[in-house]
Symmetry: C2
Subunit: 200 residues, 2 copies
């Protein structure tokens, strides 16, 4: 048979496959998940709606695969940045310059009712947190900063949470307390991890 649940499918990773995920990401960012439809995707890519279902079984698959692709991209960026000097500063820089907070909001909302997305989101948070913890532990062993008695996992949790809140609010148009908070954070970073780190 040429159709049904076992119908012929387009190859993951192909050019059109990626264009479809690009379009889905753009719609999610600019219009929200209620507007993420096969017709809108086709319109953006410049193909016919039927083709979307040649590359993906269902709309849910597109969302899950889209998050997985983004997740992979971000984890690579994170792993790369953490090799640098002063990983604490790197952690903060990455948290504050991460994916657009509106896109994150959409995936968060989706994760609360789509089991596939939820699994991917959980996996991403845990991997990302582990990478950060390992980098901070390495830095501590090298004597690059004491982190003031706070366990590395607490540092990373706080950095992630505060950065997300700052970007989410400023995207929205709220700035109350931001300047003061950013100042406290940059002072903490400077004192925990000085410019010329002492080598062990």
């Amino acid at each position: 048979m040429s159709s049904g649940p076992n119908r012929r499918m387009g190859p993951p990773g192909s050019a059109t496959w990626n264009l479809i995920l690009d379009a889905a990401e753009g719609i999610l960012l600019e219009e929200g998940y209620a507007e993420l439809t096969s017709r809108r995707i086709a319109e953006r890519v410049g193909i016919k709606q039927r083709l979307v279902y040649y590359y993906f079984h269902t709309m849910d698959d597109i969302v899950v695969e889209g998050f997985r692709r983004m997740s992979k991209r971000e984890l690579e960026r994170l792993a790369n940045a953490l090799k640098a000097e002063r990983p604490l500063h790197e952690v903060w820089g990455i948290c504050i310059h991460t994916t657009d907070s509106r896109l994150i909001s959409e995936f968060m909302a989706l994760a609360n009712r789509n089991e596939g997305v939820r699994r991917e989101v959980i996996s991403f948070i845990e991997q990302s947190r582990s990478l950060q913890v390992e980098a901070l532990e390495r830095a501590m062993k090298n004597g690059k900063g004491a982190v003031a008695g706070l366990p590395p996992v607490v540092i990373t949790f706080m950095a992630t949470s505060l950065a997300l809140a700052l970007t989410r609010e400023s995207q929205l148009g709220v700035s109350m307390g931001h300047r003061e908070t950013e100042r406290v954070i940059s002072e903490a970073l400077a004192s925990l991890e000085p410019v010329a780190p002492a080598r062990a």
Copy 2:
């Protein structure tokens, strides 16, 4: 005329009006904003779809009015709690036991593309933050806690952000670093605001 943009409308605050917003809130929480339709609301309340449009002009109005009602409810709860002893502990308790984080996620996502919701969300964040800052400043003047040199607005920003992140993640099924973070926070609360506060 009995219809059109100036058509006759049901009274805000009436029983059915509130039932419609209750249903909308439930759908938003349990099924997400993509499922928030006039037909689903009518089904939940046990009325016909047409009646929803007697009480509200558009679906957008329902979302905006729903957030406004919830916002009012939460601000009253906050103002009440902040009269108590140890406002710092109260701030944390309220942040951690606030509205379901899944509902917040939905409104966050909606705020990014609905101008009415955005205005209400901004207003809520600013009022809520102001209330908390005032309470902390009063407590400091009374000598109830020094707050370790951190400006009150930074304290409230951090409490709100960290509490939201903790509840969001545990709702999702992530717990990595939570125990450690909660411990750091409860120690900070205890040291900044002891059980028997010194009066001025």
